[in-house]
Amino acid sequence: MLEFTPDQQMIREEAQRFLREQSSSEAIRLIVDTGASHDAGLWASISRELGWCAMAVPEEFGGLGLGATEVAILMELTGARLACVPFWSTVCLAAPLLQSAGSEPAKAKYLGAIAAGEMAVTVAYADLSVADPAATVAVKALRTDGGYRLDGKVAQVIDLEAADIVLVPAALEDGATALFALARDAGQSVAPLEVLDRTRPVAALELAMEVSAESRIDEGCVSAGQFREALAFANLGLAAEQLGAAQGAHEVTLAYIAERVQFGRTIASFQAIKHRCAKLVVEIAEARSLIFGAAQGLGISDAAESALEIAGARVLASDLQFRAAEEAIQLHGGVGFTWEYDPHLYFKRAQANAALLGAREAQLDRIAASVFGDGGVK
C-alpha cells in the first residue's frame, strides 16, 4: 500500500514546523519587495544545517541516498510557504542532470558540494516552456586550443542570480550536446528580469566566452534519455511544489473565511463556499495521491510508465494550483487583489509554474500517445 515510513513522516513534520517559522509571510515579502535573488539565511539553514540538499544525492557523493519521495515531501512544503530559495533548481533540476549525465569527477565535485550544502546550481535550458526542454539548444560550443568557446543566449534561467554554478547544455559542431558547468563569477552576462512571480527570480544569460576543457563535465555527450531521466525528476519536484502551494493558498483562505463576517455570518458558513473548498480537497487528494504514488515508483517501476504518471501529476497539480490560488483571491473578496494580502503571491506563482516544462496540453499529449499506442497524432 502507500504511506510514508516513520522516517519520512518525521522529515515531513520537522520541515513543516521549520518552514512555518522561517518562511513566514513577512520573510517572503522581504524578498518580493527588495528584489533580492533569494532568502540567503533561509537557504543557508536548509542547505547547510538541515541538509535537505543531501537527501537524494547518493551516499558515495556524501548524500543521504534517499529517494524521490523525500524530495517530493520537501518540495511540497517549500511550495506551501513559497520559500524563496533555489531549492528546486538545485535539487530537482540540476542535481538529477549531474547524476544522469555527469562524469564521475564532476559528480564527485558538484554533487558533493550540493550535498554538503555549499552550492546552489541551476540549468540553462534553451526553453523551459516545453515538455522536452533539451530538444533545442541555445548555446554553441566551439572547440578551441585551451578548451571551448561558448556563444549563445538563454532567455530565461531560473534562480540564475542565486546560483553558484550554472549548467549549460551546448551544441558541439557535430550536433551532439555537451554539458558545461560554469561558475557564476566567470564573466557571463546575466540580466535579471522583472517578473510577475517575484518569489522565484529569473534572469537572461548571454555567453560569449572561452572556457577551459575542465568546464565540460558530461560523460561523453548527453543523450536524450539522460535528459529525460533528469527532467522526470524536475517535473515530479515541480508537481509536488504545486501541490504544496495549492495547499498553502487553501489554508490561508480557510483561515480568512473562518473569521471574516458578511451578512452576520462567517463566509465559511455559506454552503456554496463550503462546497468549493471541499472540491479543492478532492483535487488535492487526487494530486497528492498521484504525486506520491509516482514518487514511490520512480526508479523502481518501468521508467516510461513513471514518466506518464509524472506527466499526469503535472496536469493535476497545475490545474489544482491555479484553482486554489484563484479561489484564494476570490474568497478573500476586496482584499484578495491587494498587494498587502498573500493570495496574489500564490496566484502569480501558479501562473508561472503552469508554463514550466510543458503546459497541460503537452503533458496530456504525451499520455495520449502512449494510451493510444500511436506515438502521437500530428
Binding site: 465559511a268 495521491s289 496530456l364
Partner: protein, 391 residues
C-alpha cells in the same frame, strides 16, 4: 511480493478454468446498470465461487473465510475483475452483513447467518433509505412495534433503493422502535426474511431500462425476537459501522472494471477515427490520469496511514470515483458519436451505454455529491455545519 504473485496466479488460474462453459456468458456482465441481469446463473456462480472458497476470502478463518491480508484481498479483487468476473449478487451479504454480524452479532446469530452468506445460498438486501428521508438518515419513519406476546417486532413502513431485494432472501432494516424518538435515537437494527406476509417488493425501473433497485413495503411484517442485532436503540451505531465497511477492498476491483471501460473507449475510438480528435485524446489522457490518481488514493486509504492528510482525503474517495465514472460515461458517448444513441448487439457498445446511463446514479446513491461535499467541508475541514431546517 513473490508470494503475492503466486497468489495472483492461483486466482487467475481458478478464474480461467471456472469462468467458462455455462458461466462464460457471465463474463463482464452484471456491472453498472446491469445489477439484475442473468440472476439465476449468477446465483449459481456464487455457489461455484463458494465451492472454490472464493466467497468471503477476507473473513477470518473461524467464520469460513481465508483471513486474507489487505494486499491479498486487493490482488484477488483485481484478478477477479481482470478475468471478467461478473457483478457479485452476494456482495451485500459478504461485504456488509457479514462483517456487521461478526462485529455485533451473538454467537448464535453468527452461526445461523454466516454460513448461508459464505456458501452462496442466502442473499441479503439492505433496508436503509426511505422516500422522505433520502440521504437524511436521521429522518427514518419505518416503525417497529414490540409484540408483547411473541417478543417479535412488527414492522410497518417503506424502504426504497434496496438493491436486488427481488433476488434476495433476507433484508436488514433500520426502523424506529421508540415511539416519539427523533434523529439518531430510538432506532433498531432488524434482520428479516423477505418471503413473508406483509412484505411487498416493487422494482423501480431505471434510466437504462433495468430494475436493480426496489421499493420494499412493510405492513405488519415480522422480525423474530432473536433477529435483533445488538439492542433496541443501537440501530444508528450499527448502521454507521456497517456503512464504514462499504468503503473497502472492493474499490480496487471496481477500478479494474473502470480500466476495462477506458480500454474499450480507446479501442472503439481507434476503430471509428475518434482517436484523431485532439479533444478526445486529451480527455482520454485526463481520464487515464484520474484513474491512476484514484488507484493511489485507494492505496493510501487502505494503508494504516493515520496522517491528517490521508484521513481527510479519504473522505473524498466516493466523490472522486463517482464523478470520474460519470465523466467517463460522457466521454464514451462522445467517442461513439451518433452511434451512442443506437442500441446494438455489440456488447462493448451496450456496456458503455449502460455505464453512461447508470453512472448518473453513482453520484446519487450511497450519499449524493452534495452530501459528500458537506462531509468533506464539515468533517475534513472543520467548516460550520449546515443548519437543519424546521419543515
Amino acid at each position: 511480493m513473490s508470494d503475492l504473485n503466486a497468489f495472483r496466479t492461483e486466482v487467475r488460474d481458478w478464474m480461467a478454468s471456472h469462468l467458462s462453459g455455462t458461466f462464460a456468458e457471465l463474463k463482464y456482465r452484471g456491472g453498472s446498470g446491469e445489477g439484475d441481469v442473468l440472476p439465476e446463473l449468477r446465483k449459481e456462480w456464487e455457489r461455484e465461487l463458494a465451492a472454490g472458497r472464493w466467497t468471503c476470502p477476507g473473513w477470518p478463518q473461524e467464520h469460513g473465510g481465508r483471513g486474507l491480508s489487505v494486499a491479498e484481498q486487493v490482488a484477488f479483487q483485481e484478478e477477479y475483475s481482470r478475468a471478467g468476473g461478473p457483478g457479485r449478487i452476494g456482495h451485500i451479504g459478504e461485504g456488509l452483513m457479514g462483517p456487521t454480524l461478526i462485529a455485533f452479532g451473538t454467537e448464535e446469530q453468527k452461526k445461523r447467518f454466516l454460513p448461508g452468506i459464505r456458501s452462496g445460498t442466502e442473499f441479503w438486501a439492505q433496508g436503509y433509505s426511505e422516500p422522505s428521508a433520502g440521504s437524511d438518515f436521521g429522518n427514518i419513519k419505518t416503525r417497529a412495534r414490540l409484540d408483547p406476546v411473541t417478543g417479535d417486532w412488527v414492522v410497518s413502513g417503506q424502504k426504497v433503493w434496496t438493491s436486488l431485494a427481488h433476488l434476495s432472501d433476507w433484508i436488514f432494516v433500520v426502523a424506529r422502535c421508540e415511539e416519539g424518538s427523533v434523529g439518531r435515537n430510538g432506532l433498531i437494527f432488524l434482520l428479516m426474511p423477505l418471503a413473508q406476509p406483509g412484505v411487498e417488493i416493487h422494482p423501480i425501473k431505471q434510466i437504462g431500462g433495468g430494475a436493480e433497485f426496489n421499493s420494499v413495503f412493510f405492513d405488519g411484517a415480522r422480525a423474530k425476537a432473536d433477529d435483533v442485532l445488538g439492542q433496541p436503540g443501537d440501530g444508528w451505531k450499527i448502521a454507521m459501522a456497517l456503512l464504514g465497511f462499504e468503503r473497502g477492498i472492493s474499490t480496487l476491483g471496481q477500478q479494474m472494471s473502470f480500466q476495462q471501460e477506458l480500454d474499450l473507449i480507446v479501442e472503439i475510438s481507434k476503430e471509428n477515427g475518434s482517436d484523431r480528435s485532439p479533444a478526445i485524446r486529451q480527455r482520454v489522457a485526463y481520464a487515464w490520469t484520474g484513474l491512476r490518481a484514484m488507484r493511489y488514493l485507494a492505496m493510501r486509504v487502505l494503508s494504516d496511514d493515520q496522517s491528517p492528510e490521508t484521513r481527510r482525503e479519504a473522505l473524498t474517495y466516493k466523490y472522486q470515483w463517482s464523478n470520474w465514472h460519470r465523466d467517463l460515461g460522457r466521454l464514451a458517448m462522445d467517442v461513439l458519436k451518433m452511434d451512442a444513441n443506437v442500441v446494438s448487439d455489440d456488447p462493448r457498445r451496450e456496456r458503455l451505454q449502460q455505464m453512461f446511463l447508470f453512472a448518473r446514479a453513482d453520484t446519487i446513491y450511497g450519499g449524493t455529491n452534495e452530501i459528500q461535499l458537506n462531509i468533506i467541508a464539515e468533517q475534513g475541514l472543520g467548516m460550520p455545519r449546515e443548519p437543519r431546517g424546521k419543515l
